[in-house]
């Protein structure tokens, strides 16, 4: 019964949020059926829509996965957006400045590794502040988001700006630094496959290895974990490395697979939507798959909804917030000591 409730709860959260969206549409004088129809066809209606949904799903999968793992470990990593951006910066630095002439087969792995490493270190900074200085990761990751956003601005107006200095953007990535496209799937890049692989890998790590058990134990109760010989501080550093690394990879995949350049506002708030993804997934690595698909479709379809029903695309954030509220109220696994 409880298990059934836990699986039905995310659907309930979506239903409630959709009902609120319908009310907003009615209040705005738009037909909810027409607007929601536009949303659906905008997300899934044709191959272009499907491509866009898949492209948006990739960063949501990776960052959402990272957020889910961190939250599960009791670490409130709100810094996905910043970790994604530093990943994109590092990937761009390698692709356009450090090693643009590296041999073809070497460059792409270097670019992606730079993204992962930068994101992991950005997350690791929050971990160091938490473990070493007692600073709550909630505040530090939020502040690091602002700093990362401004670092992007600095990079594209300064050291990473294109050599012609025409626009505040980086040079285009050399071909060898671009991710390949999946055959027969339009602009969908190979990063999606990598993201899906990582979902499986994180699931395995989390539920089938001793390292995963330690992480989950710390999330359930740091005190009990300590009695079991686990050092929570070490697990906190580990999980923020993993969480940040996944977000950093998402940033590297965006520049390498989608845009081919670094510029400001590259991310459509993926780091924040990822929190909604993780909660709708009930912090389960595999749950991230449908949850990321849902929010990717919502974001893609909102453009069509804007054209048909004049609902601004920012309204999607209201829906995301409501899904978080409802999921946190009804679908989150109870933590030790809360009930």
């Amino acid at each position: 019964m409880t298990a059934l409730r836990l699986w039905l709860a995310p659907l309930g959260a979506i239903a409630l949020a959709t009902a609120v969206l319908a009310l907003i549409l009615l209040a705005l004088g738009a037909s909810p059926a027409r607007a929601l129809g536009a949303l659906l066809s905008g997300a899934f209606g044709d191959s272009l829509a499907l491509t866009n949904t898949a492209l948006r799903m990739c960063p949501l999968l990776l960052v959402g996965l990272g957020v889910a793992v961190a939250f599960r470990c009791g670490i409130w990593n709100i810094g996905g957006e910043g970790q994604l951006y530093v990943g994109a910066i590092a990937a761009t630095a390698v692709a356009t400045r450090v090693a643009p002439d590296a041999p073809g087969l070497l460059l792409l792995p270097l670019v992606l590794a730079a993204g992962v490493l930068a994101g992991a270190l950005w997350g690791g900074l929050a971990a160091a502040l938490r473990v070493g200085r007692g600073v709550s990761e909630v505040l530090s990751t939020i502040l690091l988001n602002f700093i990362a956003l401004l670092l992007v601005a600095y990079a594209v107006h300064g050291p990473l700006q294109e050599l012609s200095s025409a626009y505040p953007q980086s040079d285009a990535f050399p071909d060898a630094a671009r991710l390949g496209l999946l055959p027969g799937l339009g602009r969908v890049h190979a990063g999606i496959a990598l993201a899906l692989l990582l979902v499986a890998a994180v699931w395995f790590l989390f539920f089938r290895t001793a390292a995963g058990l330690r992480l989950r134990a710390v999330g359930l109760s740091p005190e009990a974990a300590r009695y079991a010989g686990i050092r929570p501080e070490r697990e906190i550093v580990r999980v923020l490395f993993i969480s940040g690394g996944l977000a950093g990879l998402a940033g590297a995949l965006e520049v390498s697979g989608v845009t081919g350049r670094l510029f400001e506002n590259l991310s459509a708030g993926y780091g924040f939507t990822a929190i909604a993804v993780a909660l709708l997934a009930r912090l389960h690595p595999l749950g991230v798959l449908p949850a990321a698909l849902f929010f990717a479709a919502l974001a893609t379809g909102s453009g069509a909804m804007q054209r048909v029903a004049h609902v601004p695309s920012v309204t999607v954030q209201v829906i995301e917030a409501l899904v978080i509220f409802f999921s946190a109220s009804f679908a989150l696994p109870r933590r030790a000591g809360t009930d």
């Binding site: 502040l129 700093i147 209201v318 509220f325």
Partner: protein, 293 residues
């Protein structure tokens, strides 16, 4: 006095006032055991409501009241999910920020005719010669919060609820009622701080205009060690740092703009790194209380 120095001091006062107001409200909430990281969102909601009401009524006072009402409304949403449903406060605070960003953006674009955006919002102006109304409010608020928490029975009860909710409950203190009240008080202050941005610091509304001030206010509570006086001092320090940053920009000093903009966030991080470990937070902060214990 040197006119440049006077301008700097005035600018410091301007920039620190909303930080102090928001942080004092969050202080009350946190003392009752409620950690609300949604200040940023409540501030944004307050700024938007102050702008709409201010422009429509051409009355700064109505704008102030609108800002407070919006902050209280958003705080009630937060309280409904966290205190009533027992949902996690960090998660709900993050959601509240997202909600306010989306809701104000939607309303601003849809409901509000663009030509009204051209008109500036009315300004609150001076309440006492030489002192803007918001400064007067902030000073009174700081005194009020200090007296309330330190010298009244109700304030003592609020602190007890934040330290040991179960023990306070056993003494007959109504834990959830006090937490509701403190959360709404925090919302009122955040909304008022948002109104300050529109009715004093700039006369218009821009989407996402709070730009992290709510989070800085959150850090100020820690920095001030949960004492109203020190929180105001911290706000002045941050105001001075921002004012200095604007002066450097105006002088055309050779530091990239984006790096200058980074200073308040970096300063907050450094301050937290130095002070956070030394501060004793209320023992039951962010711990749920079911009301059945």
């Amino acid at each position: 006095m040197d006119p440049a120095l006077i301008a700097f001091l005035l600018s410091t006062l301007r920039l620190s006032t909303p930080l102090a107001i928001a942080a004092l409200g969050e202080l009350v909430a946190e003392r009752s055991g409620v950690l609300n990281i949604g200040i940023e969102g409540m501030m944004l909601g307050g700024a938007f409501a102050a702008f709409v009401l201010g422009v429509y009524s051409d009355s700064a006072l109505l704008g102030v009241l609108g800002g407070i009402a919006a902050g209280v409304g958003l705080a009630a949403l937060f309280a409904a999910f966290t205190l009533w449903r027992g949902a996690d406060p960090i998660v709900c605070g993050a959601a509240l920020n997202l909600f306010a960003l989306g809701a104000t953006g939607t309303l601003y674009r849809l409901v509000f005719p663009p030509e009204l955006g051209q008109r500036g919002a009315p300004q609150l102006g001076e309440l006492i010669p030489g002192l803007n109304g918001f400064v007067v409010i902030a000073v009174l608020l700081a005194l009020g919060v200090a007296v309330f928490l330190g010298r009244t029975r109700l304030g003592l009860a609020v602190r007890a609820v934040g330290e040991r909710a179960e023990a306070a409950h056993a003494q007959g203190v109504r834990v959830l009622a006090l937490r509701w009240g403190s959360t709404l008080m925090g919302g009122a202050c955040a909304g008022l701080a948002g109104a300050t941005l529109v009715l004093w610091i700039s006369d218009t509304f821009v989407e996402g205009m709070t730009s992290g001030r709510g989070f800085i206010a959150l850090a100020l509570v820690l920095f001030g060690g949960y004492r109203p006086g020190r929180i105001v001092g911290g706000a002045l320090l941050f105001g001075a740092a921002s004012a200095l940053q604007f002066r450097l920009q105006a002088r055309g000093i050779e530091i990239p703009y984006s790096l200058l903009l980074m200073t308040p966030y970096l300063l907050t991080l450094v301050v937290l790194a130095v002070f956070a470990g030394r501060v004793r937070t209320p023992a039951d902060l962010a711990r749920p209380f079911s009301g059945r214990a």
